[in-house]
Symmetry: C2
Subunit: 167 residues, 2 copies
């Protein structure tokens, strides 16, 4: 597997073992009607999601806080390998246009890699966020990268199991 | 062909008909030992070129002015379709890491598309540069995008012809 070149001074990594299969995790990540159920820690909600699952295609979500404030995230996919690898960035808008400024709710530029590997009856789940400098890494960490991305994995697994084999 | 979504307010386009075949143009663009002979208008020179021809791979050149000043360009490929389409950006470093600042000699962020289409015995050659805002477009235009990119097409064709079928 062609993994990201991780620099501990710049990047963040979350690794988890989950007991649902890679294809179900893939569907949960790449289907708007599934993603909206788990993609942000509750009680925040996803109020919009747009996915064009190809390199250069749009990946847009809108997160709403409990107070009703909305935070758009806009980026584009870079690599799409079903059930294995998804890469996207908010440094580029859809169609690869350089972003005028960070349009993510995080307010920072990052490129994210999601890796899925079959492990037993479940999935080895690895998420990586690459940043341009240590300050952005720290900002992302302070925003709760590890807890936030970890919480949504739990929510995703719970959602997938609640759907049974229908997802 | 999946062409760039061009916005005339933000982007620059150069279209040319050249009388060498798409596969020779492709080799000239993607082989460091060929590229260094034509990639910058003379009397500037290319003093270094690094190419890893895959999505996420490095595309680096160093341009040297007649006065001896060197201007590095660092970016990564996004799409590689031999003899047809090459897409790269300096908004991302190799491995898709967001760039800390424009590392191109142009000092601005852009994503470039090169399209090659067989036309008669030659090639329909289209180069597109996408920018984040009208100011960057204008800056790129003022730096001589049309003349510069046009001059290097002439230099490339001349180089290819001088090599004969060996390229």
């Amino acid at each position: 597997m062609n993994k990201a070149a991780i620099n501990p001074d710049l990047d963040l990594v979350l690794e988890r073992q989950v007991d649902v299969s890679p294809d179900l995790v893939w569907k949960a990540w790449t289907t708007p009607e599934h993603l909206q159920h788990w993609f942000v820690p509750r009680p925040w909600t996803i109020t919009a999601c747009e996915i064009d699952l190809r390199p250069g295609g749009i990946f847009r979500t809108v997160m709403r806080s409990p107070e009703g404030d909305e935070f758009p995230n806009m980026g584009c996919y870079l690599e799409v390998v079903p059930n294995e690898r998804l890469v996207w960035t908010d440094a580029l808008l859809p169609g690869y246009r350089p972003a005028a400024q960070p349009e993510s709710g995080a307010g920072l530029l990052f490129t994210a890699f999601l890796y899925l590997e079959a492990a037993g009856t479940g999935t080895r789940y690895t998420a990586v966020a690459l940043h341009k400098d240590p300050a952005d890494r720290q900002r992302h960490a302070d925003m709760g990268f590890e807890q936030g991305w970890g919480t949504v994995v739990d929510q995703m697994v719970e959602y997938i199991k609640a759907q049974g084999v229908k997802i």
